[in-house]
Amino acid sequence: MSLRDALNSGKFVVTAEVGPAKGTDIKKILHESELLKGKVDALNVTDNQSAVMRISSVSFCKLLLEMGHEPILQMTCRDRNRIGLQSDLLGASILGIKNVLCMTGDHPNAGDHKEAKPVYDIESVQLLQIVAGLNAGKDMMGNELKGATDFYQGAVVTPESNPIEPQLMKFEKKIAAGANFFQTQAIYDIDKFKDFMSYARQFPVKILAGLVLLKSAGMANFMNKFVPGITVPQNLIDELKAAGKEKALDAGIDIMARHIRQLKDEKICDGVHIMAIGAEDKVPEIMERAGLL
């Protein structure tokens, strides 16, 4: 089933993500993708994530399609100008890719090519507008296309950003620009997330709560300190600490499974987006413990 149909059917949708390899050896990522087959509703393919140069997201999405996956093409504005973006979107469309997640993209400063000239010719809101235009059969200059695209458009939002008001105003701009679904930045405080959802529910968009697997108390502390928009509450850090070094990952899996269960049982949002970050092989176990398999 397509992601669009899955979300529209009212099913509690699960997406996960894979990061293409840095190099042509794709055995590991193919194996991880294989493990997730038939388990998740769709699989995000990151686009040079953290501004680290890797295999193109379009190519890897095509491989996922061939494997029978429902891929979500992540597309950032960092590396291509408006001509390149539209060209790649048309290219993705003829390959059968139906879902596109429009993002600004991390600054090259974060990645492994710090001296690169960042593009940002356009940005996430405008990219969503452009995709809506391509779906309507026009490029962004209004030129008629020979054949339109049919993308299901996604975007991202950071519900715990501080200050939140400008972030929410941008969220509304993204909806006006044509976003159909959102995958959020990682959330750990479900009560806080409920506040965001009670605001977001006034809009006709689907929201997938972003969940990042905690692998240790150290990782949680690191994220609190260095990852913008992510706050891991102290009680979860204590839980990871109490589990001890060897059982920390297991505790992290428990925490995520518990959160998924609550989000689903209380019908807080439309699904979850699991970011296992290097532990993609654990996703089936997380889903099993969450009662999804």
Binding site: T104, N109, I122, E123, V125, N162, M169
Partner: protein, 223 residues
């Protein structure tokens, strides 16, 4: 004003290794304010070059180094000193350096500075980049703060997901331009403008190189 910084003296020496005598040209405007090409810097470079066994045939501080014709006229009084020099060293921005290139068609011209950005002097010899010369001002739509310049991604429609506690994802030393814009628009009751989606920027307005003629009846930027 145009912000410059002094190049490493060793790098300058390598550039001018083949030449013996020099005429030095500064600039009374930006480079003087930056401390890279005023009277004291001309004197200091003269001493430093002489300490390396070079000859300085003369120094001169034009009113505005980038005003090519004016600088050419001002340099007339130094005709002999210029003629005696193997090469010219210009202590201004790249525009002033290229005035000298035009004025001295037969002599090598070397810059002693790197040209950094168009900036505001916030305190004595402290500079902030505020304008990117993009050719089409959007300050009317962004609360008077330029996100094209102040946001490392040049975003036009609000903060990216990387902003944290009002700081930029690129560096905690940078205030998030869009949080600043939001705060200012809120204070000045202009949040309705914040909600408007801005279209992609027309970069053809900043295409290089540009020329502008304001002498005729019709002012036109040519690209």
């Amino acid at each position: 004003m145009i912000i410059t910084k002094k190049r490493d003296f060793k790098a300058l020496l390598e550039n001018i290794a083949d030449y013996k005598s020099f005429f030095l040209v500064g600039c009374s405007e930006c480079a003087s304010l930056c401390g890279t090409g005023g009277e004291p810097e001309l004197a200091a470079l003269k001493i430093a070059l002489e300490a390396e066994g070079k000859t300085v045939t003369g120094t001169m501080l034009p009113k505005t180094g980038c005003q090519t014709l004016g600088t050419k006229i001002e340099l007339k009084k130094d005709k002999d000193a210029c003629a005696a020099a193997d090469a010219i060293i210009v202590m201004s921005c790249g525009a002033g350096t290229q005035s000298a290139v035009e004025i001295f068609p037969d002599k090598p011209v070397f810059p002693s500075n790197d040209t950094l950005f168009l900036g505001n002097m916030t305190r004595f010899q402290m500079f902030d980049e505020r304008c990117s010369l993009c050719g089409e001002c959007i300050l009317d739509k962004t609360g008077g703060i330029c996100p094209v310049t102040a946001c490392p991604k040049g975003l036009l429609n609000g903060p990216c997901g990387g902003t944290n506690e009002g700081k930029c994802e690129v560096s905690p030393d940078i205030e998030c331009a869009w949080v600043r814009i939001y705060n200012r628009m809120k204070k000045t009751n202009r949040l309705e403008d914040f909600k408007k989606t801005l279209s992609p920027k027309n970069w053809s307005a900043s295409r290089k190189p540009a020329t502008l003629n304001t002498r005729g009846e019709k002012e036109e930027v040519k690209k």
